[in-house]
């Protein structure tokens, strides 16, 4: 049995993740998706909001969570002009799966983490497309699945960048006290 430590240890003690870090980084990621992307590469643009959400669910599950996934999903729904609750549902499912295996993901180094996250990121795009099909909104454009692949490829640089900026240490590199 994996029992979480009662007291913060290592880098978590010296540079704990704070609410400000979580909210500001999520806001930045959300504005990234709001940028006027070119029409030709629109289907290739990864969902940065979801990536950051999953990042914080792995690094600081007490600060993120399903509630946050739900509200971010609703925001994304409005920004994208799709049915209310479509992205919210997809975000909730992805967050739930990540929280289930959070202990394992936390301990992995970045390449292994990427391999584990790839099906989740791809599954989210597939879920959005399938839900659209179920609501009778026409033929699915399966090119959009590429966004899941792009997100997985961008995971290592993104995780590294956010680690550096917020001075988080991945658990695998923490030195035991």
């Amino acid at each position: 049995m994996n029992i979480p430590p009662l007291l913060p240890q290592g880098a978590e003690l010296t540079h704990p993740p704070t609410r400000a870090k979580v909210y500001i980084s999520l806001l930045l990621a959300f504005s990234l998706t709001l940028l006027p992307w070119m029409e030709q590469i629109r289907w290739l643009v990864p969902d940065f909001t979801l990536m950051l959400l999953l990042y914080w669910n792995i690094r600081a599950p007490r600060l993120a969570g399903i509630g946050m996934a739900f509200s971010l999903g609703l925001l994304t729904d409005v920004a994208r002009g799709v049915l209310f609750g479509l992205n919210a549902l997809a975000y909730c499912v992805a967050t739930f799966i990540v929280l289930l295996v959070q202990r394992r993901l936390e301990g992995f180094d970045t390449p292994r983490q990427t391999l584990q996250l790839f099906p989740i990121l791809l599954g989210k795009e597939a879920l959005v497309l399938t839900l659209g099909l179920m609501m009778g909104r026409g033929d699915a454009d399966w090119r959009w699945l590429a966004a899941g692949l792009a997100a997985a490829l961008l995971w290592p640089p993104l995780a590294w960048l956010v680690d550096r900026i917020t001075q988080q240490q991945p658990a695998s590199r923490q030195t035991p006290l």
Binding site: P8, R62, L74, A88, L89, R137
Partner: protein, 296 residues
């Protein structure tokens, strides 16, 4: 209240699966409400009013970059473009006088036949600020909204023909469903013989469809389709599509015709909303709450 970032000693909240189930239930409820009853347009407009300024601000640097890029075009390019525009201008002028003559003749003929003149429309020029990030819908966001007097249900055109219809109005922007959107339809008339049919979007960028066509209907590839104006939403005589192919009936007793839209559906940056001079028609008002147009 700030919660400790590490695990608390005593857990006083619902378990993860229970919370997940609850949120999924809420999501499904919202989906059903939005898809079937259009009950959440107020909430959506509210959240959009918050997001919209951010969207506009984020688009600004790109416009500036675009402007800087345009500053550095070479002289030759400008000269060539000038030449091209001049010839285009002449062409347009010729077409315009032609059109004026035809319009004058048309008014005369109408007066002769004692038909009521078509009610006037004012063009509200607008710019496309965003295309939808949804693989299923063909929708665009334009920079004219409730504050500019736009209302849901009004037709949207460009220089070549019908583009679509305003389906959702936000305070500073509105959403236009393109003719190619799966839920859109328009009553049209064959220019050659006056045959009245209804044309539907298919969800593909460059194709419209006439479903349930009588297999003996006189429709040929190359025929031009114009709006018939019998729905009270689209004015009569706006070019809509050209017939490309007629598919003979296979599994059903009906034939099917594929058409190509004439208006630049999803191609241009500038389009015009047709604002009826009279107050909105009863039909438009009736259609306003529901996003989709119901064809007769």
């Amino acid at each position: 209240m700030s919660r400790a970032p590490h695990a608390p000693l005593f857990v006083r909240e619902m378990g993860l699966p229970a919370r997940f189930g609850l949120y999924v239930l809420v999501c499904l409820l919202l989906l059903a409400m939005d898809a079937r009853y259009f009950a959440l347009s107020g909430v959506r407009a509210g959240i959009n009013a918050i997001i919209h300024p951010a969207q506009m601000a984020l688009a600004k640097p790109w416009e500036w970059l675009d402007g800087v890029g345009r500053f550095f075009v070479s002289h030759g390019e400008l000269a060539a473009e000038n030449q091209r525009l001049k010839s285009l201008h002449e062409l347009l002028e010729a077409g315009l006088s032609d059109r004026a003559a035809i319009t004058a003749e048309n008014t005369q003929l109408r007066a002769l036949m004692e038909l009521p003149a078509r009610e006037g429309y004012t063009m509200v020029p607008s710019e496309i600020i965003e295309t939808s990030t949804d693989p299923f819908s063909r929708k665009i966001i334009i920079n004219r909204g409730e504050r500019h007097g736009i209302a849901a249900g009004w037709p949207v055109v460009d220089a070549n023909g019908l583009v679509g219809q305003v389906t959702r109005v936000y305070p500073w922007s509105s959403e236009v469903s393109l003719l190619t959107d799966r839920g859109q339809g328009a009553p049209v008339q064959n220019m050659r013989n006056g045959l009245r049919i209804i044309i539907f979007g298919q969800g593909s960028d460059n194709q419209l469809e006439v479903r349930f066509l009588d297999m003996h209907a006189d429709l040929q590839p190359g025929d031009l389709l114009y709006t018939s104006g019998i729905d009270g939403i689209y004015p009569a005589g706006v070019p809509v599509a050209r017939v490309v192919k007629i598919e003979p009936p296979r599994h059903t007793p009906f034939a099917r015709a594929l058409c190509q839209p004439l208006g630049g559906v999803g191609r241009y940056r500038h389009i015009a909303v047709m604002k009826p001079d009279r107050a909105e028609t009863a039909v438009a008002r009736q259609l306003a709450p529901g996003a989709k147009k119901k064809t007769p």
